[in-house]
């Protein structure tokens, strides 16, 4: 034991005198302190908090064990918000990826003005979600919004989007698709450009039509890219918050109360910090499981390279 310790000590001393250790400490220390204080420690602290009943102010922190989790898992709010989040996730993932693929395919036809189109479709990605949500809220305004006034002028009676429990979520999803499309397009475009032309030439010689080439060459070769985009879209959807805060505040009737908003409501409106922390861990658990399942399903053996 002692000999073992001494050998470790000797190795460290050697590293210190002749190796990279001093440089490594200088390089890593600032990052490690900040990262430790605001990332790693909070993760552990959050686990502890989720076992407490505490408002964050009073000295009385009551240790309640797993009661927060038990209560949470039997609450209507959690299951509602999970359902709402999955609805949002499904909409944004399916529509966003389909739209991104269509645009990328069109752009990949050796079209002129590629960088112009790319910039146009990508601008929503870098636009702030808060600002975008304010604009979309106005687009969907029943009195003077562009959508409803336009639909009315061609004789369609449009719903009162954001105050309808049925139509609020589709409106929020449309904003999500609008903001995500450009990102999916850029990644797909990079994927399409990495498919060798010889594959298509060979298929043409064999008499494969446009659809067959797409179905049997493009789509399978893009599947690692698609997997990457699905995972990213799913994870990002679980974190959605800003547009809900601006557009609907979780309403009407909790129909847009995604899980991130539920956590915010419990933590910073009701000050149930322990309970809200357990919501955070449920989010983590769901994301973790979804990621594992996706890796399993698609076989993560092959490296995703875009």
């Amino acid at each position: 034991m002692l000999a073992h310790l001494t050998s470790i000590f000797k190795r460290l001393r050697y590293q210190w005198r002749h190796g990279d250790l001093p440089a490594a400490i200088i390089c890593l220390l600032p990052a490690a302190i900040i990262f430790g204080a605001f990332n790693i420690f909070p993760i552990l602290y959050s686990g502890y908090l989720s076992l407490l009943e505490w408002d964050g102010l009073s000295a009385a922190r009551k240790y309640v064990g797993l009661r927060n989790y038990v209560e949470l898992l039997s609450s209507h709010d959690l299951w509602n918000s999970l359902r709402v989040t999955i609805y949002y996730m499904g909409g944004v993932t399916v529509l966003g990826i389909a739209a991104g693929l269509v645009v990328a395919l069109a752009l990949n036809k050796g079209i002129r003005a590629l960088s112009f189109y790319r910039a146009v479709y990508f601008t929503p990605v870098v636009t702030s979600t808060v600002a975008a949500a304010v604009v979309w809220k106005y687009l969907f305004d029943p009195g003077s919004g562009f959508v409803n006034v336009s639909l009315r002028s061609i004789g369609i009676h449009a719903p009162n989007w954001l105050s309808s429990p049925v139509w609020a979520m589709p409106a929020v999803i449309l904003l999500g698709v609008w903001k995500r499309l450009g990102f999916n397009m850029v990644i797909y475009l990079a994927g399409l450009q990495s498919i060798p032309n010889e594959f298509y030439d060979a298929a043409k010689v064999d008499g494969a039509g446009g659809w067959a080439r797409f179905r049997y060459i493009t789509l399978p070769l893009l599947s690692p890219v698609t997997l990457l985009l699905v995972i990213m879209s799913v994870i990002d959807s679980f974190l959605v918050f800003d547009q809900i805060f601006v557009m609907t505040n979780g309403g009407p009737l909790q129909s847009t109360e995604v899980i991130g908003f539920l956590l915010y409501r419990y933590a910073f409106r009701y000050f149930k910090l322990g309970y809200a922390s357990s919501v955070g861990w449920v989010i983590f658990a769901v994301i973790f499981v979804i990621t594992l399942v996706q890796w399993r399903l698609f076989g993560f053996g092959r490296e995703v390279r875009v």
Partner: protein
């Protein structure tokens, strides 16, 4: 033989020629039409925003239009008087510039240690950094808020800046790039008596300009557009960032759309300008890493 035959031959030739032309031009036209139509839908909210911000208030309830015909610049004056947008700009700029600077310095130092230096526990430490990328922001939100409160940092710039000076994403991005630089260059410099930190400064960083500028744009846009963290660590209206200020402005002037849109244009323009300037590098950076900031 007969006239009939040659006519049909001629017309067949014309049809064939036409078909060839059409088959060459039709797809291109079709795709341009498709892309323009889609692009119009994508741009529509921006046009709606800008046009409304320049509309006289009394036209709010008359038929909508997408191209600005009135130029009521006064809306901006009113919006900027109703909320301290200048102050929001200042706060956000201080925050964003500090975050970008910190990320560039601290992430490149850490990435250099992970990519080039040999020390015990390196791979484990790197794994810990990477592992935190899997943990969603929601888990750390409440504890981070409590730490900031405990430090007495509510309503300060430190609260907005410090927790975001380092990111696992930035370290990962730079490390991957550093690994593509040949180690022979380092070794040559070390032989010539350059220190290890000197290698980072003189060899690695100058060669990593594309990755560094991608990280700079990523972290600038992230900081400029961030909302939830500033929302919970500031109460004082004078400490608000631009997105937070806009959301509060929206709560107050909910239906006076012309002023609200003037505020929205104010909040979006700087980020869009930064994107358009760095567009090429930024998009390449995304395609390269397949990751998002």
């Amino acid at each position: 033989m007969s006239q009939h035959d040659s006519v049909s031959q001629l017309s067949a030739a014309i049809v064939w020629q036409l078909e060839r032309k059409v088959s060459r031009w039709l797809p291109k036209t079709f795709f341009h039409t498709l892309l323009l139509a889609g692009g119009f839908v994508v741009v529509l909210p921006f046009m709606w925003m800008i046009t409304t911000s320049l509309k006289p208030l009394k036209l709010t309830y008359s038929p909508p239009y997408l191209f600005p015909t009135h130029f009521e610049w006064h809306n901006y004056v009113i919006a900027w008087k109703a909320a301290p947008f200048l102050r929001f700009y200042l706060n956000t700029t201080i925050m964003a510039v500090s975050i970008v600077t910190g990320q560039l310095i601290l992430c490149s130092m850490a990435a250099y240690a992970f990519a080039r230096l040999k020390f015990p526990g390196r791979d484990l430490l790197f794994l810990v950094f990477l592992g935190t990328m899997m943990v969603p922001f929601h888990v750390t939100l409440i504890p981070s808020y409590l730490i900031v409160k405990w430090l007495g940092w509510i309503d300060t710039y430190q609260a907005l800046i410090m927790p975001r000076l380092v990111s696992a994403f930035g370290i990962f991005l730079l490390r991957q790039y550093f690994l593509t630089i040949p180690t022979e260059l380092d070794e040559a410099a070390l032989l010539d008596g350059c220190s290890r930190l000197g290698v980072l400064w003189r060899i690695i960083l100058p060669l990593s300009q594309p990755a560094l500028s991608a990280l700079a744009i990523f972290s600038f846009l992230f900081a400029w557009n961030d909302f939830l963290w500033p929302l919970i660590v500031t109460n004082d209206p004078l400490m608000r960032t631009i997105q937070l200020g806009l959301a509060m402005f929206q709560g107050k002037y909910g239906t006076r759309w012309t002023y609200l849109m003037a505020g929205t244009v104010t909040a979006t323009i700087p980020a869009i300008i930064v994107f358009l300037i760095g567009q090429k590098r930024f998009i390449e950076g995304i395609a390269l890493t397949g990751l998002k900031g």
